[in-house]
Structures are given as structure tokens and as C-alpha cells.
């Protein structure tokens, strides 16, 4: 490798020159930072300033540059030097924008700026510019698992974007549930009548598409490899197992209806005149527009639709969630009757009529056609001679003993996702048993008892995608809905969350686009969301490894397997670069080229710690770069001031925080450490799903360290921060600084 040359560039624009003693900063960079080149520019991000840096890189051989100007989140396009290791000293958002412009504040503000210069210099010296993951695969074929509406849509959208697709369907025909529908809820103006289910059209498009290869009656026997180089074994029911080279995967395995046999109180199984929604679609299909007849051949003159049958159940016995589509479906099915014969009595018994999308127009149209909607909770459906009696509590009239007679009763039973094996339950049956004592865990037995794996991944962490609430596959429904915890494997449609056909098709399109992005990134050795385009990847100094397996167990993305000697085996293409493995490693052998125990450790040590009697405490902030650090930046943009005693270092995730940093900080005389990470748990906000949770668990043990050092436990403070905490965060920082002053200075200064 060529010789290293370090340079520091200090900007005096944006008011930095007026507020700070730039000459002193230069001296710090030169003397303490030991930078070979130190230059100041009045407008560093201007074309001229950038050209100055560029010239030094090209002509002077600068390999490492510390840019002391604004936050690392600002001006990223100007300061884009792909071959040079770059660190950023945050003098604008980190210093002058959060400090008052007063004479008294001048000294502490200058100290703050000098520390950030020291930190930037120390960091850049510990960094190497990453060259990208060499272990790439360039397969650009998309595997779509499931041939329903979602799967077919994903396949067609990917094909339209110019990618080859392999579509695997378990049954003998494409179409899934939609193919079983007589008609579907309307998708276009005026949203007044049911329309054709649209399956035939999609199937024809797929058959005519040369880019799409369809395997019917087939399942996935094995998925090995990594993004860009998956090897997928497809087992055909009659025939050999075929291996396909795959770049990325969309799992669109859909749902099953909740088993109506679990609802004997609603008459299912007791009388053939109670059916679920699928049962009614079959009757409607048989009638094909004519009068709808029951299984016994009798023409239906009155029908009652029971909404929320076995779903939205607060008792824990049945599904706790809403299917998201079955109000509209019941409206549609009531129309089947009214359109064939307006004299059929159709009553929909609902608790809340939920008509997403354009369902409101559809609902109105049904009312116009004479469908009666009644708000009530059904307690019982009793066979009554040739008909059924539906007993319900009328919620508008508060009639607890309301009854309706009907020839046929239709139950809207809700959905159960086809997510495969719950790998968390398999991995930790004991934990599951402990958790099931709580009411929230009760729905677990509702999910099929013996699910079979869908993807059969050969990952150490288990054969399927990790599940989230109620067996739906993991995703962050607001920020990154399609991302699962397996890189380049995306879920779409009702397997991800309850939804109707229109939503599923939108979902499928989005997932296909994400999968394409993942394949392309994998081919370039770049990371996927949320550090999309990141070229760094973790490496381990195996000679120091103790084979404790923490990294392989904790990796939220299943990126690390174990080799035959039981050392961690990194699959760089599966990695999201969160650094959780690095934070977990007790012997600190895991690092990224530009982010390591050293890069952060060097910054911590670079800060100048004033002595015990200076009344200038030092508080270290380790802030998650996804939420907390942007919140700090935005607080600065709003000029929300905070204490001059804090020194903030962004971390990739709270999960990447190695406890050594905290021990080091306390040992070198910091008076307090603030950890800022995303919300964890069921309503998590962590961009790496489990990172903040794992980080917090690890750091919960830091109390012992503090005790051993004879320090107060308040010296380490864990704060949950959301990106919106722009106003509250500075306040919390100040509160903590006040508290530290109350506790007193650390006795560890000056060692």
C-alpha cells in the first residue's frame, strides 16, 4: 500500500471564522492531530474549496483527510472523494449552532471546536478507505415464491424492468386466492360494482413473457448462498430437483383463512348453512350470476354476514388483528345476492365497518342496493330448522337480545400468514414458554401447529424469514416496509401484513423494485438498506477469536455462519453494516475498514480532559447515526442550544457500541456517557431491527463495571431518541449535564 499522508482542512465559512479562533484550530490539527497538511478555506464546500482538496489528493498524495466544517450529514455531494479516507469534524452543527454567541461562552465554545478537530484527526488516522466487498455475485435473476396476485405482480414488474424471473408456485395453477373469487372488489371509478378478479389477464401476461420461467407444483427445497449468488433448489412434485442461480428473492406466500372450525359458537361445522367467505365465493362461482343456492340446493332468500368472526378478538382466544379486507369482501358478497335478486334480505353485522381504499364508495353503493348494515356483536349462530338464528347485541339500540333469521350465514374469519417456520420459536422454545404466560403471546397457538419451511435457507439462524407480530414477516411498516432481516429477500403481500388485492399488488411492485436494487448493489459489493451503497464490510482477526459465537448469534441479518472450525464465517453480501457483531465481540477482533473499535476509541481518547478543579466536565455522547445524530443536527439548525461539555460521536447503531468504549471513556476521565439509540421492542424504530435492543441488553451489564470502578451508576445514561426529538433532546442533554455537575467530577482525571 502506498504511503499514508494525512491532511486537515478547516472551513471558516458559515460563521465559523467569526465565532472560532481558526488559527488555534490549525495549530491543534498540526501539533496534536499531527496532520502533515493543514489548510483553511473560507468556503470549503465551494467548487474552489473542493478543487483545493482534490488537487492535494491528486498531486500531493493525500490519502486521509479530516474535514473540519459541518456535520458529516451535510455537503456529502461536495465532499465526495471515493478513494480517500474522510473524517468530518462537526464545527457548525456540533459547535457554533448549539452555543450562544456571547463573550462568556467563547472559551468553552472554542474548546469544543478544538476537541472536534482533535477527534476528526484521530479518527481519520485510524481509518482505511474501504474498497468494497470482493466476494460478490452477479446473478440478476429474481426468484418469486408464490404465484398469487402478489407473486404474479412482482414477477411481471421485475420483467418489465428488464430482469429475468423464476416464479415458483406450490399448487398446479397460478392465481392463489384471487382465482377462487367469483369477482373482486372494484379497482376503478366509480367503485360501485364488483369486477372481474383479473387473474386470467395476469396469467396470460406471464405466459407470454419470455423473461418469466414458471414452476408449478413446486416448492423450494434449499436456498443457499448470499445476495447476488443464491443457489436455489426447486423441488417439483413429479420430476427432478432443479437448481437455479438467483440474485434476490421476493417471498409472496400469502395467507390462509383462519380456520372457521375454531368458531363452533358461530355455527360453523354444526350446520352446512354457515360458511366462511371462501365458501360463499364457491357458491357464487357455481351460480355464476344467477340466484345463489346453498349446498343443499335451496335458493337463498336471506343472508347474514358476520364480520370480525374470530378476528379482532380481545380475549386472546382468536386472532387479535383485522384482516384489512373482509368488510369490503362482505359488501361485495352481499352485492352478489342483490345483483341477482334485489328481494334477497342481506344484512351485514359489523362492529366497525372498515372500508380502506375506495371502499367507502363501494359501501354506499351497497346501501343504495338495499344491503342493510347493522352495528352489533354476534354472540351465537344457532341452527333453526332449515335456517339459522343469529343472536347479537345491537350496539346502536343497545338491544342485547336482537335476533335475525337467515337461510345462510357467512363468517368473515380473517387471515393467517403463510410465513413458514417461526425460527425464533424453534431457536428458543424455553423463552417462548416463559413469554406465553403473558396475554400478548396467547395468539401463538393460533398459527398452524406444524408449519413447513418455505425458503429452506441454509443460514445458521434458521430456514425462514424472522417473523414479527402475529406471525407476519418482519418489516418496519413505516420506514422500510419490504425489508426483512435477510438481505435481498423481500416479502410482499398478505404474508407481510393483512391487506387486500390492490394493496398487495402495490406491495409486490415495491418489493420487486427493492429486490432489483439489492441485486444490483450485491453485484457491486455494496450494502443494502439502510447504509445503501456502503462499501465497508466486517472482517475478523481470527487468531484472536475465542469462538464465543456472540457475533453469529447476535447478527440481526443472519449474515454470519460458522465455518467447519467453528470460526465466524462472514457473508459480506448478506451484511447490512450495522456493526452489531463488532459491538458484541468481547475480544474486539471484528472491525470495518472505516469504522472500528479503534476509530471510535481514538476519538474518545483524543478529547482534551480538563482537570478535576476546572469545573468543566466532559460528557461523551454515542449517538445512533440514523435517528439521534440527525436529531442533534436538526436541533442545531433550529439553534436549540445545549451544554458545551458534551462531545458527540456518531455510531452506526447502538448495537455496534462496544463496552470497551465506555470503560475507556470513564477511565480517561469523562464524567458521563450518554447513549442515544432508537426505540426497541415490539414497536421498534431501529433501522437494524434488533441492533438497539442488543446494544441495550449488552450495556445493561455496564453497571457492574461502574461498581468495580467505584463510580455512580448515573455516569452512564441510556436515552431512547427518535429523529423528531429536535426540541426535547437538547433539554435532555442539559438535564444530564446538570445532573453530572450535581454528582461531581470523575475521580479518574489525569491518569
Amino acid at each position: 500500500m502506498a504511503e499514508k499522508k494525512h491532511a486537515a482542512y478547516i472551513c471558516s465559512g458559515c460563521g465559523l471564522g467569526e465565532r472560532l479562533d481558526i488559527a488555534a484550530l490549525e495549530a491543534v490539527a498540526k501539533k496534536e492531530g499531527k496532520m502533515q497538511v493543514v489548510k483553511t478555506h473560507p468556503f470549503l464546500c465551494s467548487a474552489e474549496g473542493v478543487a483545493m482538496i482534490r488537487a492535494d489528493i491528486d498531486d500531493e498524495g493525500v490519502t486521509h483527510a479530516a474535514l473540519c466544517a459541518c456535520s458529516r450529514r451535510a455537503k456529502t455531494e461536495a465532499f465526495n472523494f471515493p478513494t480517500t479516507a474522510i473524517s468530518r469534524g462537526n464545527l457548525r452543527e456540533g459547535v457554533i449552532w448549539v452555543r450562544p454567541d456571547t463573550e462568556e461562552a467563547r472559551e468553552t465554545t472554542q474548546e469544543m471546536a478544538e476537541d472536534y478537530v482533535r477527534m476528526a484527526c484521530a479518527e481519520v488516522k485510524a481509518m482505511t478507505q474501504p474498497a468494497g466487498n470482493p466476494n460478490t455475485g452477479t446473478n440478476k435473476t429474481l426468484l418469486v415464491v408464490g404465484g398469487g396476485m402478489s407473486g404474479m405482480t412482482s414477477a411481471l414488474e421485475a420483467s418489465k424492468a428488464g430482469y429475468k424471473v423464476v416464479l415458483v408456485e406450490k399448487t398446479g395453477a397460478l392465481g392463489g386466492w384471487a382465482a377462487k373469487l367469483y369477482k373482486r372488489t372494484p379497482t376503478r371509478e366509480p367503485f360501485k360494482a364488483p369486477e372481474d378478479n383479473g387473474v386470467a389477464d395476469l396469467v396470460a401476461q406471464i405466459e407470454a413473457d419470455a423473461n418469466i420461467k414458471v414452476y408449478l407444483n413446486s416448492t423450494i427445497a434449499k436456498t443457499a448462498g448470499a445476495p447476488g449468488r443464491f443457489k436455489v433448489d426447486i423441488a417439483m412434485e413429479s420430476g427432478p430437483t432443479v437448481t437455479e442461480d438467483i440474485g434476490a428473492i421476493v417471498q409472496a406466500t400469502g395467507f390462509n383463512l383462519y380456520d372457521a372450525n375454531r368458531l363452533p359458537h358461530l355455527g360453523y361445522g354444526k350446520t352446512p348453512h354457515v360458511v366462511d367467505q371462501a365458501g360463499l365465493e364457491a357458491l357464487a362461482k357455481a351460480a355464476n350470476g344467477g340466484v345463489i343456492k346453498r349446498a343443499d340446493g335451496k335458493e337463498v332468500k336471506s343472508v347474514v354476514f358476520v364480520q370480525c368472526a374470530g378476528q379482532r378478538d380481545p380475549s386472546g382466544e382468536h386472532l387479535p388483528y383485522c384482516s384489512g379486507y373482509c368488510c369490503n369482501t362482505s359488501i361485495k358478497q352481499a352485492m352478489y345476492f342483490k345483483d341477482a335478486n334485489p328481494d334477497v334480505d342481506t344484512v351485514v353485522l359489523f362492529t366497525d365497518l372498515r372500508t380502506p381504499g375506495n371502499g367507502e364508495d363501494f359501501y354506499r353503493s351497497a346501501q343504495n342496493k338495499g344491503v342493510i348494515f347493522s352495528k352489533g356483536v354476534v354472540s351465537e349462530v344457532v341452527p333453526n330448522g332449515d335456517a339459522c338464528t343469529v343472536r347479537f347485541h345491537d350496539l346502536i339500540l343497545d338491544d342485547k337480545d336482537a335476533r335475525i333469521e337467515a337461510d345462510l350465514v357467512v363468517l368473515a374469519t380473517g387471515v393467517v400468514p403463510n410465513s413458514g417456520v417461526n425460527i425464533d420459536a424453534v431457536a428458543a422454545p424455553a423463552a417462548e414458554a416463559a413469554g406465553s404466560e403473558e396475554g400478548a403471546e396467547a395468539p401463538a397457538p393460533v398459527v398452524e401447529e406444524k408449519p413447513i419451511s418455505i425458503l429452506n435457507l441454509t443460514y445458521r439462524q434458521g430456514p425462514d424469514i424472522p417473523q414479527f407480530k402475529w406471525g407476519f414477516t418482519d418489516s418496519h411498516f413505516i420506514c422500510f416496509p419490504y425489508e426483512t432481516r435477510r438481505t435481498a429477500i423481500y416479502t410482499a403481500g398478505p404474508v407481510r401484513r393483512p391487506m387486500d388485492i390492490a394493496q398487495a399488488q402495490e406491495d409486490a411492485t415495491g418489493a420487486a423494485m427493492k429486490a432489483i436494487q439489492a441485486m444490483e448493489n450485491a453485484g457491486l459489493g455494496k450494502a443494502a438498506h439502510p447504509r445503501a451503497g456502503d462499501l465497508s464490510f466486517p472482517t475478523a482477526r481470527l487468531e484472536g477469536c475465542t469462538q464465543c459465537k456472540r457475533c453469529t448469534v447476535e447478527c440481526p441479518f443472519g449474515a454470519i455462519d460458522e465455518d467447519e472450525k467453528r470460526f465466524p464465517l462472514f457473508n459480506e453480501s448478506r451484511c447490512r453494516r450495522c456493526g452489531t457483531c463488532m459491538g458484541a465481540c468481547p475480544v474486539r477482533v471484528i472491525s470495518f475498514e472505516n469504522y472500528s473499535v479503534n476509530t471510535v476509541g481514538a476519538q474518545i481518547k483524543a478529547v482534551n480532559i480538563p482537570d478535576e478543579f476546572s469545573e468543566k466536565p466532559r460528557i461523551l455522547i454515542l449517538a445512533c447515526e440514523n435517528d439521534a445524530y440527525p436529531a442533534l443536527d436538526m436541533a442545531a439548525m433550529n439553534r436549540n442550544e445545549y451544554s458545551a461539555f458534551v462531545r458527540a460521536i456518531p455510531v452506526r447503531c447502538l448495537g455496534s457500541v462496544n463496552t470497551i468504549w465506555i470503560t475507556d471513556a470513564l477511565n480517561s476521565g469523562y464524567d458521563g456517557v450518554m447513549l442515544m439509540g432508537c426505540k426497541h421492542g415490539e414497536e421498534y424504530q431501529c433501522h437494524f431491527v434488533k441492533g438497539s435492543e442488543l446494544g441495550r441488553y449488552r450495556l445493561s451489564k455496564v453497571g457492574d463495571t461502574l461498581k468495580n470502578m467505584n463510580l455512580e451508576t448515573e455516569r452512564v445514561f441510556d436515552l431512547e431518541v427518535a429523529i423528531t426529538d429536535i426540541d426535547t433532546l437538547p433539554r435532555k442533554i442539559n438535564d444530564y449535564a446538570a445532573k453530572i455537575q450535581e454528582i461531581g467530577m470523575s475521580p479518574f482525571k489525569g491518569f
Binding site: L353, Y363, R364, Q367, N368, K375, I396, L397
Partner: protein
């Protein structure tokens, strides 16, 4: 009158919603209610006692087939025609008009509550006003005050005497009209012919519906 009631009840059997749709003016709107309750929440009379069911509940009762309860209810008669519900209904139901339609239907069937003040006023006002084409204020007030007996009427009259004197001074009230006559419109015959024709047309329409 109860004859008409029995006829209708027999004709529509359990389907009271259909009966209201076909027989009551604006009744076809009842099925479009989505039970949000904005009408009930907006109704100023709802703050007073003696109001059996707000509009939303009346509509639900119609769907639930509670015929007797709806038609004998005082609810429709409590409506002050403020049009709050009409304006606010997210489904754009003409609620005020529906309430009047149901009230009128109940009256037609002879099921409206006897001596209900609104009903009494409507009847009295109509009779008074159609006689000469103009309202005889003195007579109208008299018949309202003495509705519940002689003593009650005297008491009410004394209570309101200051208002009456004010009206007399402002020449808005002529006490001699108590003797009869009073101001009238120019062409009484024309007005009465017009009203007779309107009544005839309405009767024809309702008769057609009743038989159909």
C-alpha cells in the same frame, strides 16, 4: 285512521324499511345512513329531556323493523328544523326532511302522539292561516294558550302581557281581531283554490303509493 295503519302493517309485514322508503317522504334516504352519530351530536334539542330517540337511532330502528316504536315516537315532532344535522351529515342525508317525512307518515296513519305541542301548533297554524291567507295572531295565540284549559290559558296570557302590549304599540298586533275577521289577502278564493289543488295532487300521489 287505524284502518290505514293496519293495512300498511299487513302490506309490508316485516319490512318496515321498505314501508318507510315507499310511503314516507324522503324515506328512501334512510338506508344510506352510516350510523356515525354526527346528527345526534349536532341536535340542539338533544340536550332537553323528553326526546325519545335521536335521528341516527330512529334510522337504525327503522332498519331493525321497530315499526310501532318509531311511528308512535315523539322524536320526529321534537325537530326544530334548525338544519344542523342536514348541513353536517357526511353522507348528505336530508335528515330534517326525513324526520318531517316520517312525522307526516305517522300522522297520516293516526299514530302520532296526541296533543303533542308541535303537532298541535302545526294543525292550529295551518287552519288559522289557510282561512284568510294571513295569520290571525290573536286567535292563533289564544288557541295555543288555552290548549291545556281555561286557567292555564289565563296564566299564560298574563305571563306574556308585556310582550303583547309591546306588539300592540308597534302596531304588530290588533286586539280587535279577537272578534273575528282580521287582515286577509287580496284573493282568498284564489289561495284556497291553489291549496285545494295542491291537496288533491298530494292525495292522488299518496293514494297511488298506498295501493301500488
Amino acid at each position: 285512521m287505524s284502518n290505514a295503519n293496519e293495512q300498511m302493517a299487513a302490506r309490508y309485514k316485516n319490512n318496515f324499511l321498505k314501508e318507510i322508503e315507499e310511503q314516507a317522504e324522503m324515506g328512501e334516504w334512510v338506508k344510506m345512513c352510516m350510523q356515525c352519530g354526527v346528527c345526534s351530536g349536532s341536535c340542539p334539542t338533544n340536550f332537553h329531556p323528553g326526546w325519545d330517540h335521536p335521528p341516527q337511532e330512529i334510522f337504525m330502528m327503522i332498519r331493525a323493523g321497530k315499526r310501532e316504536e318509531v311511528l308512535t315516537s315523539n322524536s320526529m315532532w321534537m325537530c326544530t328544523s334548525c338544519y344542523n344535522c342536514y348541513v353536517r351529515c357526511p353522507r348528505k342525508l336530508p335528515i330534517t326532511h326525513i324526520m318531517h317525512g316520517i312525522a307526516e307518515y305517522a300522522y297520516r296513519l293516526g299514530l302520532a302522539p296526541k296533543m303533542q305541542p308541535t303537532l298541535h301548533l302545526s294543525q292550529t297554524f295551518w287552519n288559522n292561516c289557510t282561512k284568510t291567507g294571513r295569520v290571525n295572531e290573536v286567535k292563533l295565540t289564544q288557541s295555543l294558550y288555552f290548549k291545556d284549559g281555561f286557567m292555564a290559558g289565563i296564566k299564560k296570557g298574563l305571563e306574556m302581557k308585556d310582550v303583547a302590549l309591546g306588539l300592540v304599540k308597534a302596531k304588530r298586533l290588533n286586539i280587535f281581531e279577537a272578534l273575528g275577521g282580521g287582515h286577509k289577502c287580496k284573493d282568498i278564493k284564489g289561495i284556497q283554490a291553489m291549496l285545494a289543488k295542491a291537496k288533491e295532487l298530494e292525495a292522488k300521489r299518496k293514494a297511488a303509493k298506498a295501493v301500488a
